[in-house]
């Protein structure tokens, strides 16, 4: 089936996830869909699968518009999608998961079919086990088998290779090739792993900030892809931070730690930080950098190893103790995790700086609002601020005296000028010996501001280098699993 996207726009509130994408997908081909985090890949695919509707534009199947797409209608058209986070039912058994939304089958039949398919790919999925007992990879396998069973004409695989072994991957790729070539199905393969895309795809589409940045045919060149994905111009580049002062001893260290998050764990992480040092974390989302930040903040558990700060062991202590030790965490989800939607700016200042009372708080707020150029009245509630202003408010609320500042995406959603302003403040703090660890999707930003850069891939720390000795391109390759650390 031939699929045509016509000028697709998708807005989430004020976020433009897709901004005018036009595209044709021919049957019998395997497409790669690439792009940095938040580029809009998943959003585009979800619209194709009927899970959400475009704000503007339409999708044509064999040249025909089918009206409002719902999941069942899309399934009817033969579009099946495998999610990057498995969309399944942990409490139900494997065979029930397999059957749900699939063909009408009785239990025996379903189990038999599941085993047939599983054998073909050498996936071993115990049918009576609950899905919770499976690994994420196995759950993806299960979902994949379900889609294959459905006989989807258009198969969307959103990062299907995150949880499977190399041999399984080969089987999967073989199957995909077979499905596309022999059966004329369209396969869209969303991934961050360049090698896989290059190996498998007949065409690669690159999204960048909601737009189609490129449409490439083989032979693919990795550097070109990286360039298209991450861009060469920088959003928040600008001046570099203060020089790292030598001969200062590390004040914080992480020793052979096993960090346990909600979804995954990061093993054997070691790290030490010197006063005034700025460390940038590069990596695609879900590869470990957010876990590192949160563990250092005391928000997730440290199962093994130690966190030592100023001679004191912090692992296992409650979050408040980390705070008292001078650690501050700056979350990426501003309204969800960082602010109180219905409280006013003044009230936020009052909560963040409890010692100041009465009038001084208002003065403090006004000062903060001015200094950080927050475009809002002091008594406006946080909910009504624009994304950028929420970000600035969050920055203004960082306490004065801290030793370690952990930031998730400090300039996400800021324009260039605002980004510069933020880094100006952060640099100021570093001069007063505050250390900084930040993550960012903008590699240029990392390169510009860090003294040291850590790169994460596949839930491992793959590189820890001084900023001078690593280029943006190399970072991109490392993040995509293209090279090993020198």
């Amino acid at each position: 089936m031939r699929i045509e996207f016509q000028d697709i726009h998708k807005y989430y509130g004020r976020v433009r996830a897709n901004a005018g994408i036009s595209l044709v997908l021919e049957p019998g081909r395997i497409y790669g869909l690439l792009g940095e985090n938040g580029a809009g890949k998943t959003t585009l695919m979800r619209m194709l699968a009927g899970h959400t509707q475009p704000s503007r534009g339409r999708i044509l199947f064999d040249g025909e518009s089918v009206g409002r797409l719902s999941p069942s209608r899309a399934l009817g058209m033969g579009v099946g999608m495998l999610y990057q986070d498995p969309q399944d039912f942990p409490a139900l058994t494997v065979w029930e998961n397999f059957r749900l939304g699939g063909r009408r089958r009785d239990k025996r039949n379903a189990i038999q079919r599941l085993q047939e398919l599983g054998d073909r790919f050498h996936f071993r999925l115990p049918p009576e086990e609950r899905a919770t007992e499976l690994t994420v990879g196995e759950r993806q396998q299960l979902d994949l088998l379900r889609l294959l069973d459905l006989g989807a004409n258009v198969l969307i695989l959103d990062e299907p290779t995150t949880g499977i072994s190399v041999t399984q991957k080969e089987t999967l790729f073989a199957a995909m090739n077979q499905l596309a070539k022999d059966q004329g199905r369209t396969i869209i393969f969303v991934t961050h792993k360049l090698a896989e895309a290059e190996e498998l795809c007949q065409e690669i589409l690159v999204l960048r900030q909601g737009r189609l940045a490129g449409q490439l045919l083989p032979p693919f060149r990795s550097d070109e892809l990286v360039d298209l994905m991450f861009g060469s111009e920088s959003g928040a580049g600008g001046e570099a931070g203060p020089k790292l002062q030598p001969n200062k001893n590390p004040f914080l260290s992480l020793e052979h730690a096993q960090l346990v998050g909600e979804k995954y764990a990061l093993s054997n992480a070691s790290l030490s930080i010197r006063p005034g040092e700025i460390v940038g974390l590069a990596g695609l989302e879900g590869n470990g950098q957010e876990l590192l930040l949160r563990s250092l903040a005391g928000l997730t558990r440290v199962a093994k190893g130690r966190i030592i700060m100023g001679g004191e062991q912090l692992q296992g202590l409650p979050y408040v103790r980390f705070r008292q030790a001078g650690i501050h965490f700056f979350p990426a989800a501003r309204l969800e995790e960082g602010l109180f939607p219905d409280l006013s700016l003044v009230e936020h200042f009052q909560l963040a700086f409890p010692t100041a009372r009465g009038n001084p708080v208002e003065r403090l707020s006004e000062e903060g609002i001015r200094r950080f150029r927050i475009h809002a009245q002091p008594f406006a509630s946080a909910r009504t601020l624009s994304g950028g202003n929420q970000q600035r408010l969050l920055l203004a609320l960082i306490p004065k005296q801290i030793k370690l500042l952990l930031l998730e995406h400090p300039t996400r959603g800021l324009d260039q000028g605002a980004g510069k302003l933020v880094w100006h403040h952060l640099a100021e703090r570093c001069r007063q010996d505050t250390s900084l660890i930040f993550s960012s999707a903008d590699l240029e930003e990392i390169k510009t501001h860090s003294h040291r850069i850590l790169v994460f891939y596949n839930r491992r720390l793959v590189a820890d280098r001084p900023s001078q000795s690593i280029s943006v391109e190399e970072m991109g390759r490392l993040m995509a699993g293209q090279a090993t650390a020198a």
Partner: protein, 327 residues
């Protein structure tokens, strides 16, 4: 022997309305919706059922009316709690109070009147058996219905496609949505169906088990107990029914126990289900508490022990689902 059989008959009969209500709420909660209004709904349904039976002379019509009242009350939960996204708990709680008072208000003049009752059925093959006969042979239709429904729902929930979809909706509505299941529609349907069963429980009270209407009717508190039993029953029809019969047994035998142990306060037997509910909830939920997770890291045996006891609530219980908002 006979006494035992008759006591068993008494338990089956006293348990019938609780079973119906528990099954209804289990159904609703399996779809991810909490209908907290049981206690009031049962009373309103009991009143309506009785009054309609009285006015029409037909108890079956009364039972039908009770069922309809239950569904109507559930419809209010569906409208406010699902369609308009108010807190399901808040809506249910208000309905509890409202339906109860409404029942007392509208039923005022029908209190303590003798009205029609559902007949006692005697089942030919069964009634002549020894022991089973007196226990099961002569019962109200609602007793047979509650027994049949228990097994029917068990089969239906775990062995049919529709049952599978129902559970899916209560577990991961978003995932169910992506598989083409109409989440909101199913949720509303099961809220109404569950409510209908709850309403039928009211009718079972006023037309069979505690015939008549009055203030009190005797069904007061049954709704809360049913809610507790749903949790105790781990959202499983068989376990839930078992819980309901256990409670009925506690009530029936409580009368004996009280004579055997006069120092036990009478209210003990009335209150007992609630600490059990709290304890069950504790076992269900404590596993997610951070301190407990740390503890299980240290003592893995604890987790195994807990797993043996644990039941899990439908993962999306009480959560709002709207595809346009997007999880």
């Amino acid at each position: 022997m006979d006494f035992l059989a008759l006591t068993l008959a008494g338990i089956l009969s006293a348990g019938a309305p609780i079973v119906l209500a528990t099954l209804g709420e289990t159904l609703t909660e399996r779809a991810g919706v909490i209908n907290l209004s049981l206690d009031g709904t049962i009373l309103l349904a009991a009143m309506t059922g009785f009054v309609l039976a009285l006015l029409s002379g037909n108890p079956w019509l009364g039972l039908l009316a009770s069922t309809a009242v239950g569904a109507t009350s559930a419809a209010a939960v569906a409208l406010l709690g699902l369609a308009l996204a108010r807190s399901q708990l808040a809506v249910g709680f208000i309905l509890t109070l409202l339906c109860r008072d409404l029942a007392y208000f509208l039923g005022h003049n029908y209190a303590r009147q003798l009205g029609p009752e559902l007949p006692v059925w005697s089942i030919p093959g069964i009634r002549d058996l020894p022991f089973v006969g007196p226990a099961l042979g002569y019962q109200s239709p609602v007793v047979y219905l509650s027994l049949l429904l228990t097994f029917f729902l068990w089969w239906w929930l775990f062995s049919t496609r529709a049952g599978l979809e129902l559970r899916a909706v209560g577990e991961q509505p978003w995932a169910a949505f992506t598989r083409g299941i109409r989440v909101q529609r199913l949720r509303i349907t099961y809220t109404l169906l569950g409510g209908a069963l709850v309403g039928m429980a009211g009718g079972a009270f006023s037309l069979a088990v505690k015939p008549g209407w009055g203030r009190p009717q005797g069904a007061e508190g049954a709704g809360w107990i049913a809610l507790a039993i749903v949790i105790f029953g781990g959202w499983h029809p068989l376990r839930a029914a078992l819980g309901a019969y256990l409670f009925a047994a506690l009530q029936v035998l409580g009368i004996h126990l009280q004579e055997l142990f006069p120092m036990l306060p009478a209210s003990l037997f009335q209150v007992a289900p609630f600490p059990v509910m709290i304890l069950t909830l504790l076992l269900v939920n404590v596993g997610t508490a951070n301190w407990f997770r740390d503890l299980t890291l240290r003592y893995p045996g604890l987790k195994k022990w807990l797993n043996r006891w644990q039941v899990t609530a439908p993962a999306a219980l009480g959560r709002d689902f709207r595809p346009e908002k997007e999880a």
